[in-house]
Amino acid sequence: MKSAALALEMHNITKTFPGVLALDDVSFGCARGEVHALCGENGAGKSTLIKILGGAYQPDAGTIRIDGRDVAFSHPVAARKAGISIIHQELSLLPFRTVAENIFLGIEPTRYGALDRRRMRVESERLLRRLGSSITPEALAGDLSIAQQQIVEIAKAFAIEARILVMDEPTAALDRADASRLLDLVRRLSSEGVSIVYISHRMPEIQAVADRVTVLKDGRAVMTAPLAEAPTSRLIHAMVGRDLAEFYPPRSSRPPGAEALVIRAASSRHLRGVDLAVRAGEIVGVAGLEGSGKNDLARAISGDEPFETGTMEVDGRTVVARSPRAAIGAGLGRLSDDRKREGLLMQQSLRDNAALTLRAFAGLLRSPTAEPMSSAATDRRLKQLDVRAASFEQEVRLLSGGNQQRVIIARWLARDLEVLIFSEPTRGIDVAAKAAIYRIMRDLADRGRAILMISSDLPEIVGVSDRIIVMREGAVAGELPGGASEEDVMALAVEQGQSPHALLQ
């Protein structure tokens, strides 16, 4: 079925944002009827590439060709007109409108100036049948299952006669049966000549559906190969491939100190009977799949969604952390996994951001020189952490992810807390900055703090932790020594029968 003409060509695309080189000379193509898988770690540049293809961003350099003709999209509408349709991970249907209204959103057919509802219904019906679905056009989109909503999104793409379909982790929210039905549909669409860019972390899916694979890493296309030459092991190596020994700081040779944090039989809505202990000077990694409770654990310890039963001790003192404020008062700090939403005051200065925790506990009046408000002390901490910025008065939103994370670390170092919880400490941060964050964490541990690192990044868990706690279904599934293999962690994290590759997402 494959024709020689490339439906889509992207040549030498480069894109920079303040703080990051998001794409560096990336070329990517997709033939008619080809399924081209695009994979890479978070932050590798996949979404930037897709946003450029979809017209949401303009590249700094490079060209895009559709069916051999040069195009430049200044706006998403232009890309749609050129036959490109992107189905995002978060579906965008209007829940209180019907399926037909959603499919024809923005391209509603009219008759004598009035909405032609009959045609919308009939056409929707036809599109849905073509996709092998029995959804009725009159149903409300919000009443459909996620899998059905996905079908509607695809129907939406065909309503504008899309010839290039980009699917961003389409099976992420689907159960296994629905996922395999979707993969069947992808194969069928490609056999009808639709070009499909398929973004996924799931290796078995890529093996099942792709004709070709491109791996992005740190903004570069490090590998493009036909599927036959891209076994899973090679893909993973291309995605992760780096010299791990240099990347992670050496573990401390000193034995850890006394138990700084002890949790016994603690439960909450999402957690069941958690027992764990972290010693001063130790980095304990917490791994687990999405929904395993590892993030709930961080929230519970830090008082955001407190434990309902069980006990918690910090340095031997019993602690009841009913709120973040109470937890901080007891010596427990948490760096959120969502820097933007739960961390930074984006439009305020580095200083204001770094002084936040200190100010939360300041006396009623602040004098310009007294510690809680002093910018001298804040500046010292920012310098210690090697924050790079034009000025500490600069707005924090203009910094790179790595520097933003350092500002937040500075915030937490302002109070001398016994236990620091790092949730996804390197999410969305480039590689060089990752290594720096690891060094900072190790340094903090060496200075006697107890560190709990919650992470979905398996190499990070294995590379950084002194001990690894694996969670599953809200409980501690097991514990492993530092340096355990990724496979060991996976074995504990997955339920029986679940693909170990799910962990890679």
């Binding site: 703080g19 005051l345 910025a389 600069q394």
Partner: protein, 327 residues
Amino acid sequence: MSVADVSKPAGTAWRGLNAPLMVLVGSVALYVGVALWTGQTKMLETDGILGLLQRMVALGIVALGQTFTILAGSIDLSVANLISVAAVLASFIMQGRTEMMLPAVGVVLVVSAIVGVVNGALISWLQVNPLIATLGVGLILQGMLSASFTDFAGSVPREFQAVAYGSFGVVPYSVAALFVLAAVASIVLRATRFGAHLYAVGGNAEGARLAGIRTDLVTIGAHVVCSLAAGVTGLYLASRLRSGAPWIGRDGVYDLESIAVVVIGGTLLAGGRGGVWGTLAGVLLFASLDAAFNMMGVSAYPKLVLRGAIVIAAVAVYTVRTRGHVA
């Protein structure tokens, strides 16, 4: 580290100090320009300028309060109604008697503070959207007031009229009070824990909460400040009009105008950035506009059009400036 770690903050300076300054310069230029153009140089002498400043007092005080709610990421639509309540309550309790001045002022301030606590509690504890919460409270206040009073109620004694008409030498008490209040507000924002928390909550409420700030108390505090400011404005208007009527707040459009001048002064409507000096500059701009139209002898309606245009232009300019390079 990669390329743009030391990227220049695009136009940051504009919004910090310079937004108020721009508005200030614009206002002065407008006022002086129109005075010279119409040949009313008398308006540039002490009396004329004091007259201009006196125009600022009522809106200025409410707007100082509104600055606090907006900085905290909230907003208060009940101020106009609370001003009416305060003015009527003051003159009704005083009934022209000197000895009732202090009790009346006390009652007004207590009532205002309670309204502030109610607004803040609705927003932070019951999680009602600030627009809806304060709109609702405002309607309730207006309803209770209009049910009880239909016209000017009571009167204020001569001594209380000094609030609006008395002066230190040439400087009216009211003008002095406005600037003293602004200075106090500025110090509170800059040099107290409450001020720092206010900016933090407005900048990222969830981030502030997780850093240990009691965001609910901060929101309530901001609303108490705002309601107290509205109460004081009500007292001032009662003094100026010699009595209080249930429509004076609404007639002054203090709710929307106070929001408008805060925004013109460069405070982000989303909260977290800005300050009281910008707000005062915004108030001065509106006062200059009034004065300019008076000098030109033009009817008041084109003025409204111009005010609207200025608010929109100001927000558009700030937004474009803010966007910078970050998508």
